[in-house]
Symmetry: C2
Subunit: 426 residues, 2 copies
Amino acid sequence: METYQSEKAYLDDLSKRAALPEGFQCAVGSLQFQPVEKIYAKPLKMNLTLIKADNPVSSFGAVFTKNKFPGAPVLIGKKRLQEKTMQAIFVNNKISNVCTEGGEAAAYAICQEIGKACNISADSIFPASTGIIGWKLPVQDMIKAIPGLTAKLGRSEMLGAAQSIMTTDAFPKLRSIDVGEGRIWGIAKGAGMIEPNMATMLVFLLTDLDISRENIRYALKEAADLSFNRISIDSDQSTSDSVIIMSSRLKPAVPPEEFQKALNKVCMELAEDVVRNGEGTGHVIQVDVKGHLDEKIALGIGKYLINSPLVKTAIYGKDPNVGRILMAVGDYLGTNDIDLPLDKLRIYMGGVLLFEENQFQLSVDNEEKLYQYMVDTALTPENKGFPEHDKKVVIEVIFGEGGPCRRVLGSDLTYEYIRENAEYRS
Amino acid sequence: METYQSEKAYLDDLSKRAALPEGFQCAVGSLQFQPVEKIYAKPLKMNLTLIKADNPVSSFGAVFTKNKFPGAPVLIGKKRLQEKTMQAIFVNNKISNVCTEGGEAAAYAICQEIGKACNISADSIFPASTGIIGWKLPVQDMIKAIPGLTAKLGRSEMLGAAQSIMTTDAFPKLRSIDVGEGRIWGIAKGAGMIEPNMATMLVFLLTDLDISRENIRYALKEAADLSFNRISIDSDQSTSDSVIIMSSRLKPAVPPEEFQKALNKVCMELAEDVVRNGEGTGHVIQVDVKGHLDEKIALGIGKYLINSPLVKTAIYGKDPNVGRILMAVGDYLGTNDIDLPLDKLRIYMGGVLLFEENQFQLSVDNEEKLYQYMVDTALTPENKGFPEHDKKVVIEVIFGEGGPCRRVLGSDLTYEYIRENAEYRS
């Protein structure tokens, strides 16, 4: 990623990578509606986004939230995984269709209308919703808007799709990569730290590379595990998180490892975009846990660190408060009764050694270096419409010599996080 | 607890419950020192607190942090549990003696001097430190201050002890209860949400009731499990958390269950004081998880809810954003692969039904009620020097009919939390 000086420069750059893989079209539209719940006097605006394959595709897959109260679209999406072919993804923002009366029926009714309008099977459409939890979809208003939406299907609205699925995301997120004769393309919205109830992460991935259903599902799981499952903004997992992939299979296959590598890259970039995107994000934090550790423990340490409010606020405050990092590591290990040889533990931040041989390695010089590092990596935690830079605060937690590196990404904890998440109704 | 109109009213009330059990004395003092680390140009003030039994006591016990990087006093305290008798507790604030070179030797040297000054065994003293992690104790300055401190030992400084162990605690915390012919008495400081590095919780409990070492240790473990182990302010567990109890055995024993009940009460009140005490606390939150659930799962749900940044910020913002509560419950169960019959789940806040029969039970009336409830239970999240009231936001998560209730306490997430934890060096 580069440093952008303006929203226009960012959108121009995004346009360059926005071309859809062959065999797909998309459309965006919007509607005004009066929420049934009548809490707001004014009508609200809802964006609609439709992604459609020219023909039914047999290679598709999805991973969904593990939350035990999934939204209606997630419940339907899980069933759709059994279908022989799929052909479209339909997304609305503003209201996430979760645990309301008739929620599944509403989603089915909308799929039915889209199927009719596009002349495709209603059962070949993945629904996806993001927005306020607990409200009902304005089904009739949405159905009225469908003919206007499907009429707009084309290949020129790829950046528009990335914008249309946003709720209060700071900037649209679109990544793509050319592989062999084809492409892998993805857009994302979310998560956390965005508008209160709208912390859902949605990711839609498209490719024209030939790949079997079995292989695309395997590749998606691995890519999601390495990317979206290793980011944490506020440790909460939404009821609607969904990552969906489809292939038109119109371009020659590439070797599986090449496909995997490319898909991993697109997913990791989108995951980092999601973290950097938060209006309240003051720093992107990367924790690398290295050593011959069980993967679950290594990721556990990384996620615990990245979710520690004391670590997060210290980084926001540009405070080289390294005691908190050690405290978080020790708390995770102690609380979970995990015994590791701690005498070989070293901790670095921004390349500066903080802890070694059971002792803090503090000095006024180092503290000054760390302070400057946190100044340098800071983001303006306000909605600027584009990512300012791609710098991160890198914390390394190293257990002895050698072994793999497990990486997690997260963000700091800022005033803006509180404002975004506490004040939207006030 | 009552509602206090002023700090004086609170301190007056505290004085009424401050009488020490028989057989103990205490003293408080302070010193000025220049930190070795020379980060601050100005000298700092350190408070010293000494609690001493008139005679060596055989009935004593302690529970310590599970953090894998315990401070030197915790390492020493664990060894002290093997001693035949103990006689004193010595506490300093400002610097927590954690992972520095020579940290244990420093604590031993100070115990040595106190032992000499009081004519007691140096091995019969529990050291305790709270404050900045990573700095070294000013041992020579502390040793110089000891004769002045021990000279002040007496029975009139009980409230002073509660004040002296504070770091940036908003108000002193002292609880006591008369049982049979004796008393149980306790003071606490901490935790979290207080000054950055000073998130340590220290609790010192004294009684004159006759009880064996085995029984007092059993009782302490149960009381701590029900109180201090069920509070969570920011999910971080300090490197120095310590709860220490001693009995002078000067008063007749009471039945074990009576002692347990009284000790539980003192500990639960102190635990709630610790939560309410935070300068950044805008609401005290109580989560009751009810039903025939495994205790670990019930407490897991409660702690997950109380640590969810989205739930915490919603309550701070007085936002009846009930979707977040359900999301957090579902996230905990999903992430941990726990299957529970969710169709019997009901969720209440402040007595208002939020969720039942797999659906949100929302209405404009209920949202207004919840908003008023959060207005009513709010604390001014600034240091007032006294707790304003004892109101809590009560969330009930009920799985079917009957079964035990497991309770956890925590606080919301406020601007003041960020300020306290991000800005202290700026």
